[in-house]
């Protein structure tokens, strides 16, 4: 937050340096042209007898002016943002004042160029530029005032305090301008701060919007799933009933001698069962069932879950929950479903043909958080998928609805639980469920 403000302020200041440098590019060039014109108009040619020669002021305007202008002009065009450019522009501008004052023969009105220049330099909003410029113009005044007073004051013997009078006016203007510089920077900083806040608010808004969109999408998926699932259940029940009847009849009759008939009846039953499971998954995901929180010993619950999971040869299921673990209050049916899905996934995470172990552990006590972990030593999940595995309809299996973990996430959310995943490719995966501190009414106290 603070760093972003500084970044924005910095950006804003650099932009101001660029703009101001551009102004000075034009101003410096214009001054040069103006200086030459001034020299030509005021002292074009001087006469020495019959010979007429170009006055030395014209050479001064062309060459001295050129010398003063060229470096800062080059820098404002090539390095408009650098500190050196600003300082050199400050020096050059003051030297121009000095030259113009000289060219006009020390006219007092030309001294106003100094004040105008300081005001322009204040556009940089950098007190250092004003300081350098002031030092330059003051030294010039002091030295020329001593050695060549006509060039500064237009007269040969100015009063001794003239320098102090001029310097006082310059310092007075400097105070005002430095104050303005600081105020300008303060304003820029507060704008930067506001912009940072705006950006933050906007980012938050964007995030909220994404969450809302996602939630809406999930709700839509859920509704669709629920209505399709429900509508399929009646016909599926009729099919199942009809199949049960036909099976019983056929298996008692002569047709049972046909191997194909028997085989297909079994196939039919399995496939009907598969349809049923998909529908159940869909409805588990969509269904908003009220929680029945009751004391639920974990070790036997995990045994129950193991008994429902479709086992695989070579994959061991190990219940590591201590028998004397205290008893949390949970919705037994929903939590069994959560564990069944997690354990089933863990079993299927074993690469084909490889032996493996799925372990379930739990820890916790009344008045504390509970933690249940389902750990396998299977194929692991790639890190980039960790965020997506709980999304509905996301699956890496060739045969799967992509609802297993979405159901897990939804059911746990209803319990107020969180789930996290740790995984390493080739080493295995751990899903950890955290059950929050239970309120006295929910806990079986």
């Amino acid at each position: 937050m603070e760093s972003r403000t500084r970044e924005l302020l910095d950006e804003h200041m650099r932009e101001n340096y660029r703009k101001t440098s551009r102004v000075f590019s034009i101003l410096l060039a214009a001054q040069w042209v103006f200086g030459i014109l001034l020299a030509v108009v005021i002292s074009p040619r001087s006469w020495a007898g019959l010979a007429s020669a170009t006055h030395v002021h014209i050479y001064a305007a062309v060459f001295l002016g050129g010398a003063i202008t060229s470096l800062p002009l080059y820098l404002t065009l090539t390095r408009p943002e650098s500190l050196a450019t600003r300082l050199i522009v400050g020096v050059a501008q003051m030297l121009w004042s000095a030259l113009l004052i000289h060219l006009t023969g020390g006219r007092i009105e030309t001294h106003f160029h100094v004040f105008g220049s300081l005001a322009f330099l204040a556009f940089y909003r950098d007190w250092k530029v004003l300081l350098v410029a002031t030092v330059v113009v003051a030294s010039d005044h002091l030295l020329r005032g001593i050695f060549w007073p006509e060039s500064v004051y237009g007269i040969a013997d100015p009063a001794w305090w003239r320098f102090l009078e001029h310097a006082a006016w310059v310092v007075f203007e400097d105070v005002v301008l430095v104050f303005a510089c600081f105020r300008g920077i303060d304003e820029m900083r507060s704008i930067a701060r506001q912009r940072t806040e705006l950006e933050k608010t906007f980012a938050e808004l964007e995030r909220t919007h994404q969450i809302v969109t996602r939630t809406e999408k999930l709700a839509a998926v859920g509704q669709l799933a629920a209505s399709v699932g429900h509508e399929l259940r009646n016909p599926l029940t009729a099919i199942r009933n009809a199949h049960a009847y036909i099976s019983k009849r056929v298996l008692k009759s002569n047709a049972a001698s046909d191997a194909r008939t028997v085989q297909f009846l079994g196939l039919q039953e399995r496939e009907i069962h598969a349809c049923n499971r998909i529908i159940s998954d869909l409805l588990d995901f969509a269904r908003e069932r009220p929680l029945d929180l009751r004391p639920c010993p974990l070790r036997p619950l995990i045994e129950e879950a193991f008994s429902v999971v479709t086992a695989r040869d070579g994959v061991d299921l190990v219940n590591e929950v201590p028998a004397d673990l205290p008893v949390p209050a949970l919705d037994k049916d929903q939590f069994r479903q959560v564990l069944v899905n997690l354990v089933q996934n863990a079993v299927e995470a074993m690469p084909a043909g490889r032996a493996g172990t799925v372990r379930v552990s739990a820890a916790g006590s009344a008045g504390d958080r509970w933690r249940i972990a389902v750990i396998d030593d299977g194929a692991g999940i790639a890190p980039e998928l960790h965020a997506r595995i709980f999304e509905p309809l996301f699956t890496t299996k060739s045969k799967g609805t992509g609802l297993g973990l979405a159901v897990v996430a939804t059911m746990l959310k209803r319990h107020g639980c969180s789930i996290s995943v740790k995984s390493e490719i080739g080493r295995g995966t751990e899903f950890a469920i955290e059950i929050p501190l239970q309120t006295p009414s929910a806990a079986a106290a």
């Binding site: 009847y245 269904r287 009751r294 010993p297 070790r299 429902v308 009344a366 079986a444």
Partner: protein
């Protein structure tokens, strides 16, 4: 021969289900609506009514309520394809024998129907005799058949000669604890489901009861209608183990 009234507005489902029940040796009368079912109920008694919940016209819930007035002794099993959680909860708390979610396994439906036809009773076991009696009375008022007894050993004797399918047992009792009753039941009577209630959570006893297949653990005080709901849930439950075996 058991006479069953089967009510469902889905013709295909009704016909196929009736065929299966008839195959199991039952006499089935079909009704395509709640109104028609009530007509049949008025004219003759049935041993059991099996009805869908969501139907056009009279709902299964309403039909159950009207049937309860007409034939209070007749067990009612309801079926639903929809997640009508609130309605299911309400009917379970009001004495429906069981609610089966569609699509059910025909064998499971058949077993549930057979069980209901036996008109089984619930046995309440609590060492506080007055508590046992009041729980039994409250469940009876809901429409369940209930007996009560005040010690574990007595409970094990009682189940021998009475048609009991659910045992609601207090976890902590002098003599034989509730957990021990559950454990004995597990080995001797697989047809009886245990439900454990307790004044306080005793983890070891609760673990032991759950490990031995207690259907649920409830904390006292348990409202009678909630207890009735759990009893009906236990009666309608498909055996997890056999369901898993079929899935393989």
């Amino acid at each position: 021969m058991a006479r069953i009234l089967l009510v469902d507005d889905e013709g295909a489902l009704r016909v196929t289900l009736a065929a299966n029940l008839e195959l199991d040796g039952m006499e089935v009368e079909e009704a395509e609506s709640g109104e028609r079912a009530l007509e049949l109920l008025r004219s003759a008694p049935f041993d059991l009514m099996l009805s869908d919940i969501r139907m056009s016209g009279m709902s299964g819930k309403e039909l159950f309520q009207r049937a309860k007035e007409l034939r209070p002794e007749m067990p009612v099993v309801l079926m639903t394809a929809f997640a009508l959680e609130d309605i299911v909860r309400e009917v379970l708390r009001n004495g429906v024998f069981a609610v089966l979610p569609k699509p059910f396994d025909v064998g499971h439906l058949s077993r549930t129907v057979q069980r209901a036809l036996r008109r089984p009773a619930v046995l309440v076991v609590d060492d506080h005799e007055d508590q046992a009696r009041s729980t039994a009375a409250a469940l009876r008022a809901i429409g369940l058949r209930v007996e009560s007894i005040s010690d574990g050993a007595g409970a094990l004797r009682a189940i021998e000669d009475r048609p009991i399918d659910i045992c609601i047992v207090d976890l902590v009792m002098p003599g034989m604890s509730g957990a021990e009753v559950v454990e004995r039941l597990r080995w001797s009577r697989t047809d009886i489901t245990a439900i454990v209630v307790s004044d306080y959570v005793v983890p070891e006893l609760m673990q032991r009861a759950a490990a031995n297949g207690a259907f649920a653990c409830l904390c006292k005080p348990v409202a009678a209608d909630e207890l009735a709901q759990v009893v009906a849930e236990a009666r309608g439950r498909a055996d997890l183990r056999s369901a898993a075996v079929r899935a393989r």
